[in-house]
């Protein structure tokens, strides 16, 4: 595993050096001023500035002197918040289900990312800077994930962020048991597959550990053959490599789950095999087991108000996010959709209506908590010195339906600017100017 992925990484670095060295190492210095800043830490700064140097936030606050030779964004009357993070998405992928096996832990979504997919631009124009891309939910153990920073216009290798450790998608409930033609057909079977595969992974891990120990002389050779020729390496298995990463908590585990009992089941699996499930995904019935989820310490990355399309989705309540938050669960709100990703801030706002979520915590559901779900909280999700310079600027309170995103900044570079974007207003004006009042093309 290590070798394969480091080869990939070397390729990426070489490709960058060859084709796009400048954007990668560009000095992106930006000074945002006069903004009402939602930092995400609970602090709001009125009329504040953010200085982003070399892609990172160098200073943030009220009285920061404007440096020389920087791009200045005057955000008078506007609100700045951490770039929105969509913790669960399938956007910009050629395909996302390798469901021919119930365990496809050997595949990686990174390989099918389309950097020029228009869904990315629409999300960017809505203030979204980071997207966590998942394998689908058609099988119990899916594939590895990817994380994209929406640097629209850049190549594939630039937008996929250095992401170590990676994550693995699991899926419980109706999706993997849909259809009669393959095992499993029930939640019982799902649990069995998980246990079976993790036991295989333990054995695989042990086999490698034994091999390494023999190689270094910590364990004596088992037989005369080994004595003479040295130990024989176990067969390399990419599926098992990924699962071993999960067992060691080096690879994140993200578990698609709707029903309450699915989440407590996976928590038991985690305890049994000694790893810590990173996030439950969708969590429609999570509110029923809030105490258990809080105790497990797993992030709840969820829908607020998307439900009812199938039985396991018919018991979701829009109060779920606020309830879980109240009980001490870290709640992230995600889209899982090319549409909803455009209005995550409104989903966050709904948690105030449905369950009185405090405002700053509502903001965190689409920023810091989402970063927690991806173990990227030291890099994104807050406007704080040292963090990535990812900022979404709105023309009003981002939680208001009457506001819109006007600028999206990633690592100090402006990737979306409504003033420069083609808007409907401009589009119509141009059509009228060209005497094409009708939209039919000149009629």
């Amino acid at each position: 595993m290590r070798t394969i992925f480091s080869i990939q990484r070397i390729t990426i670095v070489v490709a960058c050096l060859l084709f796009s060295a400048f954007p990668l190492f560009a000095q992106s210095d930006l000074f945002i001023t006069n903004a009402h800043i939602i930092t995400g830490t609970g602090e709001e700064i009125d009329n504040g500035s953010i200085y982003i140097k070399d892609g990172k936030i160098l200073a943030i606050g009220k009285d920061i002197a404007q440096p020389k030779d920087v791009t200045v964004v005057d955000a008078k009357g506007q609100w700045a918040m951490p770039g929105i993070i969509d913790e669960h998405s399938h956007m910009a992928m050629e395909s996302f289900n390798e469901a021919t096996s119930q365990n496809s832990a050997m595949v990686d979504i990174t390989d099918v990312v389309r950097h020029d997919d228009y869904s990315l631009y629409r999300a960017l124009a809505s203030g979204v800077t980071t997207v966590h891309g998942f394998h689908g939910s058609a099988n119990v153990i899916g594939g590895r994930d990817e994380v994209i920073k929406i640097k629209w216009g850049r190549d594939r290798e630039t937008i996929i962020i250095e992401n170590n450790p990676e994550g693995l998608k699991f899926a419980l409930g109706e999706n993997p048991i849909r259809g009669d033609s393959r095992y499993p057909n029930s939640r019982m079977g799902i649990e069995h597959i998980l246990r079976n595969e993790f036991i295989r992974a333990q054995e695989y891990k042990k086999a490698w550990e034994t091999y390494e120990a023999k190689k270094s002389g910590k364990i004596k050779p088992s037989n005369s053959y080994e004595k003479k020729f040295g130990p024989v390496a176990p067969k390399y298995d990419m599926q098992m490599e990924t699962l071993v990463g999960v067992l060691k908590d080096e690879i994140r585990s993200h578990i698609h789950a709707y029903s309450a009992q699915e989440m407590t089941m996976f928590s038991r699996i985690g305890r049994e095999f000694g790893f810590h499930p990173t996030s439950y995904e969708h969590v429609l019935e999570g509110y029923k087991v809030a105490d258990e989820l809080a105790e497990a310490g797993t992030v709840s990355s969820m829908f607020v108000d998307f439900w009812n399309y199938k039985v396991e989705a018919s018991n979701a309540i829009p109060f779920g996010a606020a309830l879980l938050n109240e009980k001490g669960v870290k709640v992230a709100i995600h889209s899982d959709s090319d549409d909803r990703v455009r209005r995550l801030q409104l989903d966050a706002a709904k948690t105030i209506r449905y369950g009185n979520m405090p405002r700053d915590e509502a903001f965190r559901t689409i920023t810091y908590n989402a970063a927690l779900g991806m173990r990227l909280e030291e890099r994104i999700g807050l406007l704080k010195v040292g963090m990535d310079g990812d900022v979404a600027i709105f023309d009003g309170d981002p939680l208001s339906v009457f506001s819109k995103c006007v600028k999206t900044i990633i690592e100090g570079e402006i990737f979306f600017d409504r003033d420069k974007a083609m808007t409907t207003e401009k589009w119509i004006k141009e059509a009228k100017k060209a005497n094409k009042i009708s939209f039919e093309g000149g009629k």
Partner: protein, 432 residues
Amino acid sequence: MRLSKILLVAFAALCFSAPLSAQIYAVTGGTVVTVTKSEIENGTVIFENGTIKEVGSNLTVPAGAIVIDATGKFVFPGMIDINTTLGLSDVSGIWQTTDNRETGKFNSDIRASQGFNADNRQINMQRYTGVTTAIATPSAEIIGGQEFLFNLNGWSNEHMIIRDPVSMQITYPSAQSRSRYGPPQPATKEQKEEAKKNLTELNDLLNKALKYADAIDASKNNTGVSAPPVDLRLEGLVKVVRGEIPVTLNANGIDDIRKAIEFVQDHNLKAVLVGASDAYKIADEIAAAGIPVAYSELLKLPDMDVPYDLYYAIPTIFRDAGVLFSFHVPSHADVRNLPFMAGMSVPYGLSKEDALKAVTINPAKMYGIDDILGSIEVGKMANLVISNGHLLEPSTIIDKMFIDGDEVNLGDNDDYQKYLKYRTRPDYKKKK
């Protein structure tokens, strides 16, 4: 024995009828957003027996009125969703819970109200954000059937249904195939012929309905003239061909919309365009024809060749062209998102006032129910929402709601009950 029975009946009558029929309510101190007239700061709304009696500032609260203090709050009229399957369906993936589609091509005799389940759990959940009234729609191949207007509060369909029929669902026979995903495909020869045949049949049916209506009138006005034999399909269309109720007319492509306009004009119908994907492209023509549009595509994903905010901004195109329009959400489990959909058009050019109208008075006008609904005006039904913020804001919390003058228990829905149940869950520890 007999006396006690009488007493019991009298007591019951007192308990159940008195508060409903005679009680006067006065909502005071709030900002009353009437929608049709100006906002009233520190306004009062007085209603009795389900009807608004007085609206204004400095009104005298009648003696004995229950006073609802709305100081620091807003009073809005309840919103109206149309073209919905609310009350007819529950979980979309389970056919046993969906009662909105019937087999057949020309089901003008089918009445959606007969599939209405007054106790459908969705109704109480969906009103939570301030939708108080809806028009539910059936569907079939061409004529879906008769739509009905109902309030989202009450005990039985008899109690909740306000007008039945209020309109007729018709899908314009289309030769344009539009898949939900991807661009429209050119129609095949067979599709074109099929559409032509269906249109001919639809036209014939409407013409027959007009003759049928005339024959019924003739039989009523002239002794000796016998009524035509009862034909339920024609019977259902009588109000339609007379323009007494509108047609909820589904047409999407430019060609279809143009032909649908001709169809409406040929038969002298009243209509509301729904679906209407391409309506914005010929908004001027639609405005000239005086046909309103119910817009449901705000959340549609724009392709690369159009601006990223096109579907958010389409309402401004309707406004500029002078098209009367409303918002509506197509799914019954999303009715509660109606206000937010309207609100989302505001940062892209629509005024808050116009957005609000498009979920209140506009749909009321479009369906000819503005005599009783759509604004806070004297004589209208007391469907009121009292909230701590703007009706269209996702973060607004609704304080109180009245439907037909009755106070709605906002906690009376499955969502909220589950919320209460699990929020107050005892601290559970596994016994070792």
